[in-house]
Amino acid sequence: ALLVPTPDVLAAPTQLLAANYSNQRTASRAETVALKDLLGRWEKEYNVTIFYESDLVRNKRVPAQADGATLDAKMAEVLPQAALTFKKLRADYYLVVENSNTVSTAKTANVSVADVTVSGRVTQANGEGLPGVTVVVKGTANGASTDVEGRFSLTVPEGSTLVFSYVGYVRQEVPVAGATTALNVTLVEDTKALGEVVVVGYGTLARQELTTAVSSVGAQQIERQKVAGFDQALQGQAPGVQVTAPTGAPGAGINVRIRGNSSLNSSNSPLYVIDGVPVLPTYDRELSVGNQKPNPLNAINPADIESIDVLKDGAAAAIYGVRASNGVVVITTKRGRSGKPQVGFNAYYGVQSLRKKLDVLNSRQFAEYYNESQANAGAAIGYPDLNNLPPYDTDWQDEVYRTAAIQNYQLNVSGGTDKTHYYVGGGYFKQDGIILNSGFDRFNFKLNFDQKAGEKFRVGTNLNLSRTNTNGSVRSELGLGNSGTVLGTLAQIPTIPVRDANGTYGLNPFSLSDNPVGNLLESSNKSLSYQVIGNVFGEYNILKNLQVRSSIGIDFRTQLENEFITRNYPGTSRADASTRGSGRTGTTLQNIWLWENTVTYNPNIGDKHSLQLLVGQSVQASNRFASNASVRGYASNAVPYLSAGTERLGTSSYEEEWGLTSLFARAIYSYEDRYLATVSLRQDGTSRFDEHYGYFPAVALGWRISKENFFPQNSKVSDLKLRGSFGSNGNQDLSYTYQRFSSYVVGANYTGNSGTVQGGIRPDRIGNRSLKWETSNQYDLGLDLGMFNDRLTLTADAYLKRSKDLLLSVPLAPSTGAQVLDIIQNVGSVENKGLEFALNTANVQGQNGGFTWSTNLNVSLNRNKILDLGTLANDEGDLVDRTIIYDYSISQKGKPLGSFYGFKTQGIFQTQDEISSAPTQPNNPQPGDIRFVDVNGDGVINNDDRTIIGNPNPKAIAGVTNTFSFKGLDLSVFFQGSFGNDIYNANRQALESLTGPVNQLTTVLDRWTPTNTNTSIPRAVYNDPNNNGRFSNRWIEDGSYVRLKNLTLGYTLPTSIINKARISSLRVYVSGQNLLTWTDYSGYDPEVSADPFSSTGLGRDFGVYPQARTYTVGLNANF
């Protein structure tokens, strides 16, 4: 049996045109039969669907062949006689296509030649045998297919050519020189073909039928990267999908943005649909330190994923309604194939290290700088004798960073019969962090199973269980004064030791700052999660073309967090002894269940028309309970639990629930495969708003120009399609589920008449019961082009997305009496527009293990702009456009989200005269201080002189992957980059501030002094009276980069060697991640964000855990 893995989302097998089956009759070998009838008969006989474009099959007759053992063999025998061939897209889904290389039916050469027997094995690039490959003698119907180990044997005329073809792989032709038993062929995956079936949400569609913008990423692309989660592996693989690892912290959340940010206060995260279960990841922590959060998507082992389909445009996403406005990522996991059990074992081990160190001052340089800064402020100097400095020169980066291991082991067993398919996998992944006391590990278990019960009924399950452990002890996104690890490591001074001779942690004698090494060694903050994501389903075929499906899904998570800070923690060493040592614990229990029912119907409405209908209903409800408690004052470090603490600091628990009821319908229609149309509508009822029900329509049209009669048939253009779509999506995801309700809180206590305090409850926040979802309306215009028989494919899209009724936090007038003086209102709109290109080329297609080279390139450009934020009254009482100013960014009409907002600098004051003639800067600037620009020209430098000084949104992002193979070698080179984005280097703001007892970058050696005036670095002065360090364009840097993200070189061992070890295939490889980065950015890494999920605080580098460079070795074995 030849069976291809079947993505589970089989709810709606898609048909181009279902073959009709006419009266069944027995035909003798000599007879011919209408091909159309024959295909129809096979469909019924094998319970499969065979698709073809009607004009390919029309009127053709073939011999009524029935000799093949399997349907595949029969089709391989029959179809070439009609100048056709087929592709098997799934176990029960065949696509009949033109066989451009078929010469003519059963034409035999005039010269009679001897038949020889050839046999051999067909393998994949990794050496695994490839079962079910069709091997045909070119120009004949003579052929065979390979067995489960990829072996075949054929008797063929000498001198003929064998054609090896298999769906998803590049066809190969091999001339037969003579009898042989070692005709070994390696087929290369055809990335274009892999995407031929696209998962579109509640169904699948052949790519050529697609009218919306969907990017597909296959298993190989995902597995290539040595990262914890699939979200990170998506980076650079699909146009329009911007993936940023905001931090190098193992296990942390990854920022995925599809076609830009469209919301200020709601989530900008796409909806993930994992085996049919919609998951909106909540990166919640009870015990937060810094901004990075454990990533619930890490519950999925990337090795279990078959494909990822990203629904980008409004029309594609609209079937997911009120949660779809940030796009939808559909994850399909692997399923078993019919046949002998396949055992796969994959393992890799690697080392990670800090990509680059930043240069900071040594002891002597620091002492000189610090003395100078004190002296300039008229304060006592810190190091009176520079020749007698403390005997330390601590390199804190060397003390805090380490070489860390990354390892992954995965074992899976899959297989099945024609009734049963199973895939069982288990994995262990462990990534130590490159900073002390950090890391992530995951155990996961995967079961996908389905069973046919009779001819019409099928039941199954997709189940993913995981246990993840994130060590969040590193205090990122914090400064030295707040015990921040990363910035603390850079800013702690070199003249103190990590530990002195007594073992006491060194502390900064000039300021209350911690010892970053001690902090890490004396604290522990761990988060342990168990997650279950999956469903059970049943499908019943009422008729061949009418199917009902029901599934019950679950998204369950329990997260347990524990923190313990010992008595020896340097940060509290100055605190009263009775309060040292602290413990915190937090728990989260979340259960989201889902019940979904769908009906798909593919009515037969004639040869020229194809129609696929879907209606469905879904109910989803969530409950989340969380609690936390904290204590301090541990008499001993012996017992790190709350019970051993002496002082109870706080306890809290809360619970929240939401529900969603949905109805949806979709019709996909095509006329002669030329004119394509999809319409869909989803009604979502949400518990989050009083106005429960929202309607989200979509319409998409496609025109396959290459199918028109006027289109030149012998053109180099093999496929040309124009698409256009409109879709409306919602966004309901406010951080707090109950935002619309007014609330009261306890704590407004007052002394009663008895003289004792009574508990008071006061109004707190004013709700807004008329809130509703944000709505995004998106238009997409796309082009799909295939050339040279699809060796080159280009997909281009242009889109315009307008999101309105933003759930904006708007300040309230204090006369409302609200304690919390803001309210969420549906105000304002944001626009994203852009262009996307994806180009796949098969540059060189080698035969029989020869040199093969293919390229996959994608480029995306997005432009983001705030269209409206509502109005407010200005000081004169007139209504003006609202702007919202944050710490370092601004939201303003006409500007992109997250625009940096600060001062502009204009060199350094050299003389007192210069200062006197310049606009007034308060606080008496001195020569050597920075001159700021008087933007509003009022002669005074104040907050009104702030202006937009940078844009953190990239102008373009791109990814390019080149894959090469030759004999047993394979090589893939993946570059990825971001262009035109600015980064706010807030690290440098601390490390070049020249204001106090913190270490500085070596760039400050060029600081302004009366004798060193030609510089851009101001003078050193304690406390920075001129506020030289204020947020200005001095801290804005170009964040563009190009990165060799991954390079993998593999070698598949020859079968002759490994067969002795009973291994059917074995590939070993070496791989490097983040190998080379070209950038002008001066910080650790240009891929950075201190506020990972904010749309208004993008692109700030402040104490963020740096990315690692990783080298791994690994193996893939199959038994």
Binding site: T686, Y738, A748, T751, I761, P811, A813, P814
Partner: protein, 488 residues
Amino acid sequence: CDILDKPPLPSISPENFFQSADDAEAGLTAAYDALQGTGLYSQDLIAVGEMPSDNCTSNNGDVASLDRISWTPTTSQVYNIWRDSYLGINRANAVIRYVPTITMDEARRKQILGEAYFLRALHYYNLVKLYGGVPLRLEPTESGEQSVIALPRATVEAVYTQIVADLTAADAAVPASNANRVTNGAVNSLLAKVYLTQRQWGAAVTAANKVISTGRYSLVTNFKGLFPAENKVSETILEVQNQGNADGNNILPDLLLPSPPATYSFPKFNIPTLFLSKENEKPTDLTSVVDTVNDRRWSRVSTTTVRVDTVLYVRRDYASFVLSSSRSRGASSNDLGPFVYKWPGAPNAFNSPDNTYILRYADVLLMYAEAANEQAGPSADVLEKLNLVRTRAGLAALTPVSPQYASKKAMRDEIDRQRRLELAFEGERWYDLLRYARHNQAEAGAHAVTALDIIQQRLNRPDANYLLFPLPQAEINNNAQLQQNPGY
């Protein structure tokens, strides 16, 4: 459908609150708690009552802008008083809106509502005298509708009408005795103050007399014994109950007294003008009105011992002064100068448990005297009330034959003076001066000093616009229904 009906589980909301008698009590407690806001009796309302006046001066931050009459819509006190008053109004409104729907003891319900009416009236009175006509919000704010969150200003008259209506309702509902809480005495004392502000002398006399005639209240013998205010029941009519912790802090001691000896140091702002240099002085500083020999409320210290039975000042050049173990003069120039000792406080920063008087009996007696004098000139009745205050302070009783107080004008000046001395630094002076200035528009020269005189002195121009605060900028920006007061 159940799936879509998800009430807010973890929060108290209008949906699940105000269901029981306990809820009613908790709502009322929160309404009282609002009095402790930074913008109200813990700090700003008192600071504004003194700092612009001729009682004190400062060089420090926003407080200095009060002193210099240079406040703007963004001055913190302008914002805080407005915000905290409306917080209190909203809490009272919640009680008034929901308590009638609760099944509970009828008498208790009535009393709770009465206390809430009083508190609402008190907040509106504070607002109207500082800002003029303000938005009149009589329902708890629970919706984002523009018609709810952006109210226009009501007229001054409408606000006063509401205040009188609320106090009238309160008077019928609250008891005569109600420790730490609102009584008929408090209601009528506030009513007297409201009528006095509106120059309704007869009504003010009637209201004040309702308090006096109960016989419940009397002046404590020893003036020093009044401070700190700790429910001295004979003179207390209403105090803000502070606890010195999260359940109520009085910030004033830390602003009025020298730094505690620890590292903590806060520049004080409330410095009496007695010994300040001329440039900072205001038209009539306290020296000109104090009988420093006899007046027990005031003591000028010139030796190394301190008479701590007084409540006001010590000399700025007095080097080794020690008030208590926790309060002594530091080295900072901020610690120089005389200071107020009405809130001796505790040295834990901003956490004083000292109560603050909202209304006390001496105030009522002086209001009675003022209204009765305006109504009918100096009378035995007026003298009787005034003398109660004078004699307790150690001053001689005035007699009907004292020639210098025979005229209404002379008596008015003496009553003004006694109000200033008796209630100094309790947050009354500037409001009195404002009231006199508003009188002045009708009756020029009726008072020796009015707010207009201070404005003239500080700004070098007679700018009546400064008799009203501006509306805070945050209100103007977010409520398009409002017009800023003229001049700002």
